[in-house]
């Protein structure tokens, strides 16, 4: 690890001020710290969001939920509020990493990092969530931009994510056997805005399986999407799973998610 300065502001404004030059935000540090240890990043300073009270917590809002950026995966997994309003999101959070990672890693960190194998992006896109930053509100569809890329501008800080309440939702994850990130993760949600099927892990970034969404709109059952093939072209291929296998797994996980919705 290279040396850097460390700041722990207590207000969002102060944090934003500190974000100049080669400064970087640190939330749970679960992704950032290993990168620093491997000398793959060399920030001049780290601005720790852990001291800003307003970034934490889960609040019911307009029938849905607003989850602060610094809320840990464990807090989401164990929250009575989440279990009541969007139980599938609690399941998703409980399936991230291991207890240590869940107790440190945050929803804000996860979505800002936008790992193509991360779980949350599927949840946000399927539920039609809105990402709230210190500058604006961004629809999940517009927020995730491909591998490790987001709509965030330099110095922009995610403060919360707002989720509408779905009628039905379920998340099914096929974990990479080694890393246990999603090799394929499919989040199916039926909300006021219709049915959405969001896929993570399989491609270079989260995407919607629109053919499946159409089929499910007519008949919300696993059988309805059995024959909907996801094209393998453009999907990820590595030693753990070829694009062809991933494409197949998207279908299997989607059917299981639909079944779990009932």
């Amino acid at each position: 690890m290279h040396n850097f300065d460390y700041h722990r502001p207590t207000s969002l404004a102060d944090a934003a001020k500190r974000l100049s030059g080669e400064a970087k935000l640190v939330a749970g540090g679960m992704t950032l710290i290993p990168t620093l240890k491997q000398r793959l990043a060399q920030p001049s300073s780290l601005v720790d969001l852990g001291g800003i009270a307003e970034l934490r917590g889960i609040k019911p809002e307009g029938g849905g939920l607003t989850i602060g950026a610094m809320t840990t995966h464990a807090e989401v997994a164990h929250s009575a509020e989440v279990k009541k309003t969007i139980p599938a999101l609690a399941v998703l959070a409980e399936g991230i990493g291991d207890p240590q990672v869940r107790n440190r890693g945050t929803i804000g960190g996860s979505i800002s990092n936008n790992d193509p194998a991360a779980d949350y992006p599927a949840g946000l896109v399927a539920l039609g969530a809105t990402v709230i930053t210190d500058k604006r509100r961004i629809a999940a569809d517009d927020f995730f931009k491909g591998m490790f890329e987001t709509a965030l501008q330099d110095g922009e800080i995610v403060t919360a994510v707002s989720f509408p309440r779905p009628d039905k939702a379920a998340y099914m994850k096929f974990p990479n056997p080694a890393s246990r990130y999603a090799m394929v993760g499919v989040f199916v949600a039926r909300t006021g805005g219709g049915i959405r099927v969001a896929v993570t892990g399989a491609g270079p970034g989260v995407f919607r399986a629109t053919e499946m969404e159409k089929a499910l709109a007519g008949n919300f059952s696993a059988d309805a999407i059995k024959s909907v093939k996801i094209p393998a072209a453009g999907l990820n291929s590595d030693m753990h799973g070829s694009a062809e296998y991933r494409a197949h797994l998207v279908n299997v996980m989607a059917r299981r998610a639909v079944t779990a919705c009932s």
């Binding site: 690890m1 290279h2 040396n3 491997q38 000398r39 096929f174 056997p177 080694a178 890393s179 030693m239 753990h240 799973g241 070829s242 062809e244 296998y245 197949h248 797994l249 299997v252």
Partner: protein, 786 residues
């Protein structure tokens, strides 16, 4: 007493310090004035080093020294050695190319050591290493063992045409061919034993210290065999007299074989400590462990097994290519020969067997002993081909095994592959395992699973292993550069407590408990009154360390011999104190007695008298402190049967292990809880190999693709079922304790049981490990390999 003697499930004495974070591992130790070493490693699998420029690095903040292969050569430091010389089929010794501690002129695998920076902090050392400029001339690389001998393959070392280390033969292939030709049926199979990366929980570490006042050295190292390490460091590499080097292997967090060997890093720390006149410390990061710890397995094998019309085996022929990696590690050469081919008889009476092993160099990390070392590879070959034979002969897999077992009345049994089995009851282990696994109920479980759309399968593995590698004269005749006896010393204190010093080394196995149980049982002491000391060459007598499940069979036997000497001396003291003749003194459980009387002395009283010899036999030395060396008469032969049952989801190809029954014969069991722990861990590791683990190098570039836990798939608790473990006991007839060793059994038995179960479930002949979900899915859907 009863609750800590031989056979007791005594809780492990060492666990208090481990579980409360009070263990002392090498990295916990900090020496005044220490510096930190950081190794610059090769980013290329194969390259000529044109130039190394350390100028800027040497001037970097906090840097005390930067050394390269040229400095090593200038100091005439010897290379790393291979301690076992295998003689090839033409009577020539194996090829052992130079293995410098810092690469000189050429690098041969990704991770090869190019330079070392010694600095006041690790960060400064790393900063400086980024400033070293190495000019490489990148060469083509070969990482695939099957391709190493190809005409097109690049040659790694100067005088190793076709990258061949040795071409070795056991048995007579012509005779075997003739027998196969006459057989009713010959089963044939090609298989790969996948390369594994050990991943002990504690990474390797070392601290080198030099004391100018006495011209002596101390080396802390994560070693499984500190005396052997000292011998190699002194006599072969650094040329320092042995009495001026102290090697300490303190608490060591797992080894699985990977910490047997003498590695470049510890040599560099010791060498550099004298050059810079300050202690030098190095601790591997996990990524360095992946790159540079000796890997395991990596075989490609063709096997043929002949049988008569009743399924009785007539002959077996094996041809194996075994990877050595880029250089020979300390015991690399004996693994695919004497620890592999000699086990190819398995539990069976196959009358003739031939094995040809070609060991080859590849542009990969060195390969050496890894839990089981050679025996998992042998068991995999035998138990897979036996399974294939059963299916082709349409025989029940249990029945074909039973028909070919060595029977209890055939011991001692001379196999056609050099070993003489001493004892066993293979049919009993099979019977017990079948009951434990409810084999009779399998058909209905399979039918029920099919209703749920799942494929269910069952697989057997009847394994045998040879442990406690010995006797010394035999291993010497096979090329070992060392003897394989063990030492122990029992030092009584005047107040009746004792220290047991052992030359074996515990790195998680629980010796501090089990050796205390052995000695305590014999000397009538509770284990709380015994401390087991190991791992420090300045404290314990010369010992050979721990590997090959030898600690109890060899080290425990040495301790028992030392206890015998204590008792013999105690009898003389008791006779004097009780005014009786020595011949009239009996001894049992800590009490000396004049036979047939109630006149007794406790062992504590005897110890006190030995150290305060006011009233004492005239001709007897004071003190109660005995040392024994034990060189076994034979290997020990643990054996058993494991049965694995799996259920496969055809939608995803995921294999779930739903049942695992293991019945093992370890001879006499000193602590069933510790033994079960070893069995569980071994099976977990074997399942890792079968289902999840596989070291992958990029075929073109030789980059390690499985260089972290993100990609190298270790087994986790939720990958495993709850194991059903049973034991039978046929005592080893030739060691004083009747024990056989249990440390490797699970890792040896598990892979073929698993592959047999999965191939049974899918109704196929064979599938290569690891049985990843995609491989299984493609097989089910008859798709080409990925």
């Amino acid at each position: 007493m009863a609750d800590s003697g031989i056979g007791a499930r005594a809780l492990r004495k060492e666990d208090h310090r481990f579980l409360t974070g009070q263990g002392h591992y090498t990295d916990d130790i900090n020496v005044h004035g220490q510096l930190y070493a950081y190794f610059l490693r090769s980013p290329h699998a194969h390259a000529a080093i044109r130039k190394v420029d350390t100028g800027a690095a040497s001037k970097s903040t906090g840097v005390v020294a930067v050394f390269t292969g040229a400095d090593v050569a200038a100091d005439k430091i010897g290379g790393l050695i291979c301690g076992w010389t295998v003689t090839d089929r033409h009577g020539k010794p194996h090829k052992a190319p130079p293995h410098p501690i810092l690469a000189h002129e050429k690098v041969r695998y990704v991770g090869d050591h190019v330079a070392v920076v010694i600095a006041d902090t690790l960060t400064n050392a790393k900063d400086a290493a980024e400033k070293i400029e190495v000019d490489y001339d990148v060469l083509p690389a070969v990482v695939d063992v099957a391709k190493a001998m190809d005409a097109k393959a690049p040659q790694l070392h100067a005088d190793t045409p076709q990258n061949l280390c040795y071409d070795w033969l056991l048995g007579d292939p012509a005779q075997v061919d003739a027998a196969l030709a006459k057989s009713h049926h010959v089963a044939k199979l090609d298989l790969v034993n996948n390369r594994l990366i050990p991943n002990a929980m504690e990474p390797r570490a070392a601290i080198g210290e030099y004391d100018g006042g006495t011209d002596s050295y101390t080396c802390h190292s994560t070693s499984q065999n500190p005396h052997v390490l000292r011998l190699i460091l002194c006599a072969f590499i650094l040329g320092i007299p042995e009495h001026r080097v102290r090697v300490i292997a303190p608490d060591v967090g797992g080894g699985f074989g990977s910490k047997i060997f003498c590695y470049a890093e510890e040599v560099v720390c010791l060498w550099a400590a004298k050059k810079v006149r300050r202690p030098v410390k190095w601790t591997a990061e996990r990524s360095e462990s992946f790159l540079s710890d000796a890997h395991g397995r990596d075989h490609v094998t063709h096997v043929e097994l002949g049988m008569d019309k009743d399924g009785k085996f007539t002959a077996m022929k094996v041809e194996t290519l075994a990877a050595m990696g880029a250089y020979l590690s300390t015991f690399a050469t004996c693994v695919p020969t004497y620890l592999y081919a000699t086990l190819l008889a398995g539990q069976y009476t196959t009358p003739i067997i031939s094995a040809n092993v070609k060991a080859v160099f590849t542009n990969t990390a060195p390969v050496d002993a890894y839990r089981g070392a050679g025996r998992p590879e042998a068991t995999y070959v035998v138990e897979r081909i036996v399974e294939v034979a059963a299916r082709e002969m349409k025989m029940d897999p249990a029945e074909i095994r039973r028909r070919n077992f060595v029977k209890p009345d055939q011991f001692p049994y001379q196999t056609p592959v050099a070993l003489q089995y001493d004892s066993g009851n293979y049919a009993k282990a099979l019977d017990d395992a079948m009951k434990l696994a409810d084999y009779a109920g399998f058909a209905s479980r399979k039918a029920e699973a099919a209703k749920r759309g799942k494929h269910r399968g069952i697989g057997f593995s009847a394994y045998i292993e040879a442990c406690g590698i010995a006797p010394s004269a035999v291993v010497g005749s096979l090329g070992a550069g060392v003897g394989l006896w063990e030492s122990a010393q029992i030092r009584f204190n005047p107040t009746g407590t004792a220290q047991v010093l052992t030359g074996s080394h515990s790195h998680g196995q629980g010796h501090e408990t089990t050796l205390a149980q052995v000695v305590g049982d014999m000397l009538g002491l509770p284990i709380e009154n015994i401390t087991v000391v190991h791992g420090d060459t300045s404290q314990v007598p010369f010992g050979m360390g721990t590997y090959g499940s030898r600690s109890l069979a060899v080290g425990g036997s040495a301790a028992a011999k030392a206890a015998d000497k204590i008792i013999a001396k105690g009898k003389k003291i008791a006779a004097h104190l009780l005014e009786a003749s020595v011949d009239d003194i009996t001894y049992a459980k800590g009490t000396f007695r004049v036979a047939g009387t109630d006149k007794t002395k406790s062992i504590g009283e005897i110890a006190f008298a030995a150290y305060v010899p006011h009233n004492y036999p005239k001709d007897l030395e004071p003190g109660l402190d005995e040392t024994a060396f034990y060189d076994p008469a034979n290997f020990t032969y643990p054996a058993g049967v494991h049965i694995c049952e799996v259920e496969i989801d055809p939608d995803t190809g995921v294999t779930k292990i739903v049942n695992w029954a293991a019945v093992d014969d370890f001879g006499k069991v000193v602590n069933p809880m510790v033994v079960e722990g070893q069995v569980h861990g071994g099976i977990a590791q074997g399942i890792g190999q079968g289902l999840l683990e596989g070291c992958v190098y990029d075929k073109e570039t030789g980059q390690l693709l499985t260089g972290s836990f993100m990609d190298y798939c270790m087994p986790r608790a939720d990958d495993l079922p709850s194991f059903k473990v049973g034991m039978i006991e046929t005592p080893c007839p030739h060691n004083p304790l009747g024990v056989k060793g249990c440390g490797e059994a699970g890792a040896i038995a598990a892979p073929p049981a698993l592959v047999n179960a999965v191939t049974d479930a899918l109704g196929i002949r064979h599938m290569e490990m690891p049985l990843t979900s995609e491989r299984v899915w493609r097989t089910i859907h008859k798709m080409a390999a990925e």
